[in-house]
């Protein structure tokens, strides 16, 4: 979606936005509001928080776009998404997140008849059940295409923390979706 709408943002509009032109800044907002809200909604706990992240992200975009130097295609998208994910992740870190999951996620999957648990959920519901950190990592890594290094940097954690959260997220999803081991 961002690709299509962002393409409508010509170089002139970006230059004007850099100069602080409000109409041009609104075009940037219109082109990216869906992308930003989409990321924020997956990371934040509530739609209200996601809206606040949307607002804070564009406030920073409005303020900092004059310093944006990228020229490669997609670099504006990447920058704006990065601002959004960083704003959303700061919220997770600010709250003392209650990561109460206790799960031996890495003991191998084979032979575990998770389907018997009776926890077949749809993916949306299963995703919502993950801890905020796990959900953020699986979303940023597997959907948005961030590397573990990028996630670790934004979260202020180590690469191995990001990797273990990804494993944990998949183990939980697999269990909640009731996927059969098949052997």
């Amino acid at each position: 979606m961002a690709q299509v709408t962002a393409a409508a943002l010509d170089e002139l509009a970006i230059q004007r936005a850099k100069g602080g032109d409000l109409a041009a800044l609104e075009r940037v907002y219109r082109a990216y509001e869906g992308t930003v809200y989409g990321v924020a909604h997956r990371i934040c706990r509530t739609p209200e928080e996601a809206e606040e992240v949307l607002q804070e992200t564009f406030l920073e975009v409005c303020r900092s776009i004059k310093r944006f130097r990228g020229s490669a295609p997609g670099s504006l998208t990447a920058w704006i998404k990065r601002v959004a994910s960083s704003k959303a992740l700061i919220r997770i870190r600010r709250e003392k997140y209650r990561d109460t999951e206790v799960l031996e996620e890495d003991s191998g999957w084979a032979g575990r008849r998770d389907g018997d648990v009776g926890l077949r959920m749809d993916l949306e519901a299963a995703l919502a059940q993950l801890s905020e950190t796990s959900r953020a990592v699986v979303w940023l890594h597997d959907v948005e295409g961030y590397t573990h290094e990028e996630i670790a940097e934004q979260m202020g954690k180590t690469v191995s923390f990001s990797k273990s959260q990804l494993s944990r997220a998949h183990a939980r999803l697999r269990m909640m979706l009731g996927e059969e081991a098949g052997c």
Binding site: E51, R63, V138
Partner: protein, 197 residues
């Protein structure tokens, strides 16, 4: 490899980082191959989830916050009293404003007290800004983040005032402002090494 792969190992194989042993095992083991397929399917399903759209148009609020932040930076921090006046709150800030009562303050009194606290923090901040210190990148980012959030709260205060919102709601916004201002002052005072406010 005498056992099946763990999820971590499967993720590494998927991402091209797996050990030769793990890769070879997945190639040969039907069960692990199937598990890797399920992993791919799960990710494809995640990517196919519908994207949520913002329930409301936030551009007017962003625009307002941006314009007021820009104005605020031009005025410098000492002009905050002017902004409070514009919001109609100067009524509560008398010369003899009593100290913030510990218990059972009425909302207007609490607001007056919070406005004063906010102004005091602005003055402290101004004295720090005048020193023209150079801050590191992390600190600068933390400061920008807090300033953005303060600007968002300021817009809320303006709106609450225009809509004659209940005192409690206004007091709540001022409480948030004071908390954020306090963090901002602390961020100026102490170099940030960890952005975990």
């Amino acid at each position: 490899m005498l056992r099946h792969c763990t999820i971590s190992e499967l993720l590494e194989v998927r991402d091209g980082e797996g050990t030769a042993t793990a890769r070879a095992h997945v190639e040969q083991c039907e069960a692990c191959g199937a598990e890797l397929d399920r992993l791919h399917q799960r990710v494809a399903a995640l990517r196919a989830l519908p994207r949520h759209s913002p329930p409301r148009d936030r551009w007017p609020a962003v625009r307002e916050a941006f314009v007021s932040a820009r104005r605020r930076r031009r005025w410098s921090y000492t002009s905050w009293a002017g902004l409070a006046a514009a919001a109609g709150l100067v009524l509560f800030v008398g010369v003899n404003t009593p100290p913030r009562p510990a218990v059972a303050a009425s909302a207007p009194e609490e607001i007056a007290s919070l406005v004063e606290e906010s102004q005091q923090l602005e003055r402290v901040l101004h004295s720090y800004n005048r020193q023209g210190r150079v801050v590191n990148g992390v600190t600068a980012a933390a400061i920008a983040e807090l300033e953005d959030r303060i600007a968002v709260v300021d817009v809320g205060i303006d709106r609450a005032q225009l809509q004659a919102a209940p005192h409690e709601a206004v007091a709540d916004l001022w409480r948030r402002r004071v908390t954020l201002m306090d963090r901002l002052v602390n961020t100026h005072v102490q170099p940030v090494t960890y952005v975990g406010y």
